[in-house]
Symmetry: C3
Subunit: 466 residues, 3 copies
């Protein structure tokens, strides 16, 4: 049951041999993790992780969405209810449910993200099942209690060179500050995520804007609001940030005359906006943020296309991020035009585009990134951050955008222990893709070796200015 050293490599022997040779040159490279959702407190406090269920099951929406789809109530997995009604609190009971349903993850990346840390960190080479659930629980729990499995020790063991967290524009970044003050030599940087202060349709928007203005001492005007973002971005930069991140329902951008933007700002603050007004405000803010990026050098990331909280029962019962976000068709060509018309040729801007709509890889994203100097393509995201998803991305995007217009890998995860497995998966799949090109004589092996290094390390570092 141990992980096979050739996993994810093509089965054709000649191609596999090439993939193996390429992989050997990148397997041990340090990890650049420019976009993710680990908790900065882990690094600042360096406390031991709690039990296996709290570490692996409860925070992972990939896992509980699959269990829920097969009839497992979220309450039984210990997901807290908004109304405070009781949910399962026995971590071992939760773990047993997970173990009993582990076969559901056959053929999914979750399987690989879970089994690799089990083997690499805990020496477990058994497949999880109802039969061995308790034994594996105990073994993992024992390991987690040891100092070698605390966040900072794992950072070193994982060979991380830098890891970015994602932080609310309103965050004081206390953990980041504490971490810097601690003198620890790991590099954990924040990312400026302003969505809750930019999207009039998010709960608490007006309050968030008020807080943003209060934090920065700015007036409740359009200019004050923009100045507040500038100030917060500058603060994030002092704390190590090199990037911003924007999770919008669509990729729509706008370039309003100032007077219209001022009026729109006043309207969205009053509340009760229409969907079209909210969309226009978000759209305008993307263009504003791109302008600020040119000024302060923060790389801009856009993650559009998720219909959030599709299941109202789950949202009302448990809140957001409960596995009920569903992709939808996403337009880039017309949506990005206002921003690109204004700033798309500015050499100071880097805008990294992500998608949940794979039809855009070939039809929109690769042609756009293969032309505009500001655009780069982020790696396959969320549901597509998987062996087949990565393969489709490279197969479809490369012929038009090349490799240089992509940015390497993001692990995009809050599952800390899975980070090496995720990067390893990306390195294997990219080496497999390159090996296919070499085997079909479309690329020479020395070129493939260089590209493997780019995809595993250099492109992320350069694109994110890390």
């Amino acid at each position: 049951m141990a992980l096979n050293p050739d996993r994810l490599f093509p089965s054709d022997p000649a191609t596999r041999k090439i993939a193996r040779r390429l992989y050997e040159t990148v397997a041990a490279l340090p990890i650049i993790s420019p976009h993710g959702h680990t908790d900065p407190r882990w690094y600042s406090e360096d406390a031991a992780f709690p039990d296996p269920a709290t570490l692996f099951v409860k925070p992972d929406h990939y896992i509980f969405r699959m269990l829920y789809s097969q009839g497992v109530p979220l309450e039984s997995l210990g997901i807290p209810r908004r109304d405070g009604a009781p949910v399962e609190t026995d971590s071992r009971a939760i773990w047993r449910i997970f173990a009993g349903h582990f076969h559901l993850f056959q053929g999914t990346p979750t399987r690989l993200w879970f089994e690799q840390p089990l083997e690499d960190l805990f020496g477990i080479t058994e497949r999880l099942s109802a039969a061995n659930a308790d034994r594996l629980y105990d073994s993992i729990a024992d390991h987690l209690a040891q100092d070698a499995f605390r966040p900072r020790a794992l950072y070193k063991r994982f060979n991380l060179e830098v890891i970015a967290t994602t932080d609310s524009a309103l965050s004081a970044l206390d953990d980041h500050a504490a971490l810097r003050a601690s003198g620890w030599d790991g590099r954990v940087v924040p990312t400026y995520r302003p969505d809750f202060t930019v999207d009039p349709e998010r709960e608490g928007f007006a309050g968030n804007v008020a807080q943003l203005l209060a934090m920065t001492g700015e007036a409740t005007t359009w200019q004050g609001y923009l100045a507040a973002h500038r100030a917060r971005r500058a603060f994030f930069k002092t704390m190590g940030a090199t990037a911003t991140d924007h999770g919008h329902p669509t990729a729509q951008t706008a370039d309003l005359p100032q007077i219209e933007a001022e009026r729109l700002f006043a309207r969205v603050l009053r509340g009760g906006v229409t969907a079209a007004e909210a969309e226009l405000f978000r759209a305008q803010m993307l263009t504003e943020m791109a302008g600020m990026s040119i000024d302060d050098g923060l790389v801009m990331q856009l993650h559009p296309g998720s219909v959030r909280n599709h299941n109202p029962s789950i949202f009302h019962g448990f809140g957001p991020d409960m596995g009920a976000d569903i992709p939808s068709p996403t337009d880039y060509v017309r949506a990005l035009k206002p921003l690109l018309d204004k700033l798309g040729n500015n050499p100071g801007l880097t805008l990294i585009l992500f998608t949940l709509d794979e039809t855009s890889y070939g039809r929109e994203l690769a042609p756009l990134a293969g032309h505009y100097p500001c655009l780069r393509l982020g790696p396959p995201w969320w549901f597509f951050d998987s062996p087949e998803g990565m393969k489709r991305f490279r197969t479809i995007a490369t012929e038009t955008a090349g490799f240089a217009n992509t940015v390497g890998f993001n692990d995009d995860t809050r599952a800390y222990l899975s980070i090496p497995a995720r990067h390893d998966m990306a390195r294997r799949v990219d080496c497999a893709f390159l090996a296919g090109l070499v085997a079909e004589h479309r690329l020479d092996e020395d070129e493939a070796k260089d590209l493997a290094h780019d995809l595993a390390y250099r492109l992320a570092k350069t694109a994110y200015r890390l």
Copy 2:
């Protein structure tokens, strides 16, 4: 020319060996056919099939659409005209045309669906051509005249465990009744298909509703109409039905307040509705049918996204189902929301989704089915019920939805003799897919063996409650 035992398996020798091993464990499993279009009269009367052209060519829209696309008039294939104008009646002449154009099916699944029964049933291992058309015609005709090639004997020979037909909500199910009365031990079950009584844009809608109400003694009111459907569903259940089937232009659902639904029902009965009103009525009826499914346990199937009768000359000349139905982009995420908001978390509901828009596999269907407990993904449908179509489905859907949220195979055919070939194709392609995962060390072979059994047999049986 004989069928190769390794057909449809990957050419890489190591992977092929695994595929072969997996296939050997499922090749002989009984066939579960939970969705199809064979004629219940075949089983009740058990008469010999007529000549080869009437069996293979005239009823198969895959075949005559391809011939028509290359300039063969439908009249020459014996397709009856609505105006009664003369068409070819000589079956041998029709067969010769088919034979002379058989090369058109190179690279299509029709080729395999046709050649496998020829070899397995009639011992024919020659490729059909103008040269051997007459000889093959005679050989097939001779076989068809024998008792061993009557429907019930073939049912046994095909190793069918159960086969579902698709029946109008208005059908008295006389053939099903006769079949049950006959004491024959084959299991042929009806499926409740209410489209003609639910879609205001179908010809004869008002008359169909009147007939539905008359059959059940219900009043011409919204409540009476719903009660009539409930009554008919209950009757279908007594005749063995376990499922309903809904062929709608879109996946739109609605959840109207009762008073609005009543008004809309009155409006659609009066006739002259707008396209939007018709769409809203169909949408409301999907939600109503889902509610009834929770009550009576019938599994619900939704087949949306076909633009029916795209070619008006063909429709006016020959009627519907003449190979002129074309897919179109289909939204699920927003369309299904009203139904899912109301019933999507109800453990009693199973809603099986099909698509003619493959872009929805990864972007919408797999994420939806990987979350909602009521949703399952039907197998690739219609134009995608093919080796490459099946491969794309598994490759794209599995990483997000897993295997357990899919329902095995449907043959969906009226081509009775092709049923074993269709299931065999699905089993081969699924085993090839699983073998690829094993060869790349993404799945262990014992797991693949279990999954092959699930995909070939167990999932269909469970999902359709058969």
Copy 3:
């Protein structure tokens, strides 16, 4: 570094052997080039090509779009500015920039289109780089100065049987006339491209229509305008044309009553039309052109779905066709219906459809072409004219449309020296696809051999009536 004889063949040894055998039977077939953008003057004047940069870099938007995306200013590549501001004029300097960025084309078809003529024509087997830029420049320049590298000699060397150019409806076809008068035995035929006289949103539309009417002596009426097109088409036919080509933003067609078409024509001529009016006029003209095709036998090509001149800075600075055209989602099913309702069953019409939206291959184009006798599928176009693009086209379209509803290959290029490499790529990829079918026992090798010949030669010749 020399080109490998097995390039683009599958790496699996058994499949590769079959691909090689198939390829050997088609590698030396004459080239049919039914759609492209070479300059007829090349053939009529037969002058030597200028320097390497002017031949390979300056006219190739695939090349400069990639360089631009990585920060290379178009001025430095010698692309003339509309305002006459100075740009780089030193061809050697331009070549050095290209050479220094040549790694950007790794994994793209441009790489193969460039290296194959270098080896085949100039004997260069080194990978271009900053280090050898000057040496390669000199070597290519020396060759270009020789008579053997003039257009007519290359036509013979390339084994061209016929090549079509694309010509404005307003062109006097002087070069074609001179060529025919010259007595040279190469076959270079024009193609009727009326876009600038048909699209009210193109710059200079009214003037173009006026010129069209003046050239043909027709009145400024709807009927005169149609008669003018008929006259120009007839003239193109006398010069060898067998086809028309239509580059529209969408595939929308219309079938207006004559009186409405007359009014619309008057409106578009007055200028200041709305986007909807312009779309309707283009839509009507596609149906008119299809009607004319039935009358005069010219094959009709439709290239929809490109958002032209997406980058206004580039458009204002350098003009159209500067690598800033981006695909967008394209509907065929509803858009083509008016034309197909009217003419889709007419045996005299051939309408070849292209797409920049690959989602339509399986969902719309293959089902349409697998039914309508007038429809054929053009080869993968523009961004998809690549090994993976071709593979996806065959894999997705064939199972529904077969091979006979496709039309072989188009090189669609103005890069004359790359034409053999482009056809060779298509032949290799098609043979690889066929070999895969043979290796999986889905096709017999004798059939594959026939089909390879069809795809490489016969289908293009037949479909384009050449």
